[in-house]
Symmetry: C2
Subunit: 282 residues, 2 copies
Amino acid sequence: MDSVLRASQTSDWRQPAPENTVYLELDRGQVVFELAPDFAPAHIANLRQLIANRYFDGLAIVRSQDNYVVQWGDPSAGADGARPLGKAKESLAAEFTRPGEALDFTAIDATDAYADEVGFSGGFPAARDRAGARAWLTHCYGAVGVGRGNSAQSGSGAELYVVTGHAPRHLDRNVTVIGRVISGMTILSALPRGTGPLGFYESSAEHVRILSMRIGADLPTAERLSIELLRTDTETFRNLVEARRHRAEEWFVDPTGRIDLCNIPLPARPQNPSALPLLRRQ
Amino acid sequence: MDSVLRASQTSDWRQPAPENTVYLELDRGQVVFELAPDFAPAHIANLRQLIANRYFDGLAIVRSQDNYVVQWGDPSAGADGARPLGKAKESLAAEFTRPGEALDFTAIDATDAYADEVGFSGGFPAARDRAGARAWLTHCYGAVGVGRGNSAQSGSGAELYVVTGHAPRHLDRNVTVIGRVISGMTILSALPRGTGPLGFYESSAEHVRILSMRIGADLPTAERLSIELLRTDTETFRNLVEARRHRAEEWFVDPTGRIDLCNIPLPARPQNPSALPLLRRQ
């Protein structure tokens, strides 16, 4: 993998669009996620409205369920004292899938437990059904989704979650995924686990306060994350997938020759191209 | 799933054998894992020797790599001041796989990215090749493995790791897996991530000290974990797998009808059968 990245060209990398990055500021650091408007335009538009209202500022991370998700929103949601959503809608039609046609999709050769076909679209891990009629973002580690109630239409974006464990792919096509974390993931994944049902924190003292949530385009340039992401529609990325499928490192004595979508790393590096790539995991 | 567990019989549950449980005591709590001597008898025998020597007492967790593993052992290993292994062997022949014949193996109907066939053996998630000639324990969340160097024979059990992220199944058949965590997993998974290469802690101040490591059979009965684990070779467990494959809960609008081995929960409950089952995750 290192040699694949060393051989990469400038054109193999992209900078996430500032208007499609969200900065979640916590007392313990910054988490940044990239939005995927190709998959969830209505939910993302509503989220932009909530962020413009500064809806999230002062709210909290209220849940950390081991090997599953971290979730944030209004601890008073649904009760007296709940924060109003302002001009944002309270519920939206589901965006669990989208038409598979007219979608940039780079399939990978992988046997998948949950989908007929898997690959990447615009830098996001994704899947399609056999006919290619429907496509959706997959719940890999770091995926950002929109919490909802039992009604498929009950999500608004006011409650968001991030996958912090083994990919809960059974949630695919059952909930709207809006993007994935591209920086600061360890701040979420190492949070203390909640001891209440479903990993909710049992006391407000455990809540992790949100200082602010902002769209990158609304931040001064100097405050934006300096990051480049490896494009997923390139020969370099295909080489990287193959390097992960056939592990050539001396340590491996019996490389599998197989790969799971959610085990494919999505490399990032500082925008200064002389700096070393930041590798996600071994 | 709840209804499956409520309908379970006493005979659906088992108590892990005290001689096959290991208690890792940390200042922040207790982690217990169950050993799988059917898969790694030589490594487990060596580990028993190390534990009998009190080899681990006072050593430390030295690594926490996000979405991958936590690892412990002697921070001075391989250097001056390294703790001697006593009567334990320094290296052992690999036990990456075992013969598939004469093995209790309950296959599940799942498409797997890495193996021809997956299922459970003695309560542990496991896999087989198509011919059934080889079987191995899989690197699902909570798996406990034996760290090794580049030589396949370089593991001794003096360095152990636990999977704390999306299942790194490419490690299957490349390293000896000895068991899985059955209690206290959140103590490991929520540890601060190491900021050095591969998630190693960069300073000894970050190390998490091991107070002691013991075999359950060597503890007074009153100090042993009160736990029962759902057997994996029963009709009840088959029903549970199907309940996870076809999610009937009202929240699911488009149940997948599919399942990934490492997404199958392995329920535990207190030995007092009137107490409620402890469910692993949503």
